[in-house]
């Protein structure tokens, strides 16, 4: 199986469909519907890439992103939201997100971002560092 991907979004219909589509593109994707479950999943089965929605009940996407980056800096995080403002985008990129997409998203763009890593998104030195770090230090977990 390909890259391990964790999708976090409260829109179940959406996230399950997206997960299925990613699976069809040879990825090991798994969907959860809230931030808490996502963090638990990260602890038990850390993925390589996370796709997170920003606006979710309970724990929101920015909190999830912050915690994931604290505990697992080598997991690449892609933000996919319908509620993005310029400010949110800046916050996410500063927190180390690799890419930021506004819904509705084109599957090919998303696919490219997942496979190519942070280079695909806007210039983000910290994200690039994480990426290189993950390969150079072997922090990539199975």
């Amino acid at each position: 199986m390909g890259l391990k991907i964790l999708l976090v979004d409260d829109e179940q219909d959406f996230v399950e469909t997206l997960s299925e589509r990613l699976q069809m593109r040879d990825m090991d994707s798994h969907a959860v519907f809230d931030g808490k479950t996502a963090l638990a999943q990260v602890q038990s089965h850390p993925p390589q890439v996370m796709i997170i929605d920003l606006k979710m009940p309970g724990m929101d996407g920015i909190q999830v992103l912050r915690q994931v980056k604290q505990t697992h800096p080598c997991i690449r995080v892609i933000i996919l939201t319908g509620h993005g403002s310029e400010q949110d985008r800046k916050i996410c990129m500063d927190l180390g997100a690799s890419a930021y997409f506004q819904k509705p998203v084109d599957i090919d763009e998303l696919n490219a971002a997942i496979r190519q890593g942070p280079g695909n998104g806007p210039p983000n030195p910290s994200g690039a560092d994480d990426f290189n770090h993950s390969f150079n230090t072997g922090c990539r977990q199975t």
């Binding site: 829109e11 959406f14 997206l18 069809m24 319908g82 310029e86 506004q102 819904k103 509705p104 599957i107």
Partner: protein, 500 residues
């Protein structure tokens, strides 16, 4: 007449003037102030003058009456003394002759003698000797002396003084014209009256002047207040439209992406899946759905972009993108009114920067203005060109009703509107003017009545100065310098220069 028009204060004739809103009828207020102050200032003056007038008249009348009566009594006394020595009609006539000459008699100062039966003993200017009895006042024969008012047979109002000559049946009568006294007191008083009239006029003028000044100040501040209020209202309206737009865009994005992914999955299944497609038409259909989703996505993104740029900030701006954003907003309205929109190819302007929302607002205002001017049927043309390296020239023209040369200088004034409805508050072009001014740009209007209007604005490629720090717009006052352009411009062309 021209000078009178110029003297007329600004608040006088505008019932719909913004300074006259909020129940303030300034014309009526002015009248009330003038009336009350005039009454307060002038009534003591007038009352004092009237009292003085009456008092003087009465004093002089009483004094002269007493004097007349005294002199008559003295004369009667003298005559009585003479007659007691020589009691005959002849001597009485002689005495009368003397007195007659002494008193300088004439038609206005008549002196005669009557006997107890009312017959005139001596001639009179006013009475015949035969018919006199019937017309003489009977008091003359019953009392010893006094003063009475009466009318002579020839219609003259007279003041009659009479005194019985003691020891004889004769009565001495003096008639003076009733108004002879007026000469004594009226003439000096007339000078005073003139003085009073001049002072009343001066007081009235100064009251009117002060009232005009005060009400004018109220009017000006009220106008300013309402301008600020309108401005705020407009800004609030824009902000709430922005909030609404972004709210709607956000909420639509989520279900839109469900459609997107579900359709995407269908396509995936049809293309990547192992099973054979049940119908060849399914794939293109699903792709059509995806296209529609993409279009919706563009619209929601534009709405978000519109809402996002409410705060002024100078940034690189793609004019083409702004124009297409504006067209997306006015297209429906234009379509309903059967108006065609022509946009010539927009040249790339590298390095063009300005406040994006301001540019958007300028385009939107000018486009809305053009569409309103055309009502139904017409062509709205937007043209962007770069004639100088450091300037962008934008032309927005319509084929609408045009603006008359008289109205042309007024169109950038706040509250000038050709529309009568309340929300055509007449701020659109004023705000546009303010925004262009803030950008360091320039706007020119050419209009021919019946043919259309053309707005030509030039904007600097590099923003010359940052927008106002408080984010407020500067509306032009009524003193916008408007000067005619060179002679070769079309009729009614005006050039509004930049205010320093």
């Amino acid at each position: 007449m021209i000078s009178l028009q110029r003297l007329k204060p600004a608040f006088w004739n505008h019932a719909d003037d913004p300074g006259n809103y909020s129940g303030l009828n300034l014309k009526r207020k002015w009248k009330l102030i003038v009336l009350l102050t005039s009454i307060l200032a002038l009534s003591p003056l007038i009352i004092m003058t009237l009292v003085d007038f009456n008092l003087t008249r009465r004093t002089i009348e009483t004094e002269s009456n007493t004097r007349m009566l005294n002199s008559l009594h003295t004369l009667a006394g003298i005559m009585a003394a003479s007659l007691s020595q020589n009691p005959s009609t002849g001597s009485a006539l002689d005495l009368w002759q003397d007195a007659f000459h002494q008193l300088n008699t004439g038609p206005d100062n008549d002196l005669f003698l009557v006997d107890a039966s009312g017959h005139l003993v001596t001639p009179s200017f006013h009475y015949d000797r035969e018919s006199g009895q019937a017309t003489l006042d009977t008091r003359l024969f019953t009392q010893t002396g006094g003063i009475v008012d009466w009318q002579t047979p020839d219609g003259t109002a007279v003041l009659a003084g009479y005194a019985r000559i003691p020891g004889t049946p004769l009565t001495l009568v003096q008639l003076r014209q009733a108004d002879w006294l007026k000469d004594l007191w009226l003439k000096p008083r007339l000078k005073l009256l003139w003085f009073l009239c001049v002072s009343i006029l001066l007081i009235l003028l100064s009251i009117m002047g002060m009232a005009t000044y005060l009400v004018g100040r109220i009017h000006a501040s009220e106008r300013r207040r309402i301008e600020a209020l309108h401005h705020e209202e407009h800004a609030n309206r824009l902000a709430s439209i922005g909030r609404l737009a972004s709210g709607v865009a956000h909420e639509i994005n989520n279900p839109l992406d469900i459609i997107n992914q579900k359709t995407g999955l269908m396509i995936d299944l049809l293309t990547l899946g192992k099973e054979k497609s049940p119908d060849q038409r399914l794939l293109p259909l699903a792709e059509d759905v995806l296209d529609a989703v993409k279009r919706c996505g563009t619209i929601t993104r534009q709405l978000l972009g519109f809402a996002r740029h409410m705060e002024p900030s100078v940034e690189p701006v793609d004019i083409e993108e702004v124009v297409s954003q504006v067209l997306a907003l006015v297209e429906t309205d234009a379509h309903h009114r059967n108006i065609a929109i022509q946009v010539s190819p927009i040249p790339a302007v590298p390095g063009f920067e300005c406040d994006r929302s301001s540019l958007l607002q300028i385009f939107l205002n000018l486009a809305e203005n053009a569409i309103t001017a055309m009502a139904s049927k017409g062509i709205l043309t937007i043209d962007v060109s770069r004639e100088k390296t450091d300037q962008v020239t934008i032309t927005v023209s319509d084929t609408g009703k045009g603006i008359s040369p008289e109205d042309l200088p007024k169109i950038f004034e706040p509250f000038y509107s050709s529309r009568n409805d309340r929300w055509g508050a007449g701020l659109g072009l004023a705000i546009t003017y303010g925004l262009i001014q803030e950008m360091g740009g320039d706007i020119m209007v050419k209009s021919v009545v019946g043919k259309g209007t053309r707005f030509v604005l030039t904007l600097p490629v590099k923003a010359t100065r940052p927008p106002a720090s408080d984010g407020s717009l500067h509306l032009p006052g009524s003193g916008i310098p408007v000067e005619p352009t060179s002679k070769d411009t079309p009729q009614g062309a005006m050039h509004v220069t930049k205010q320093k």
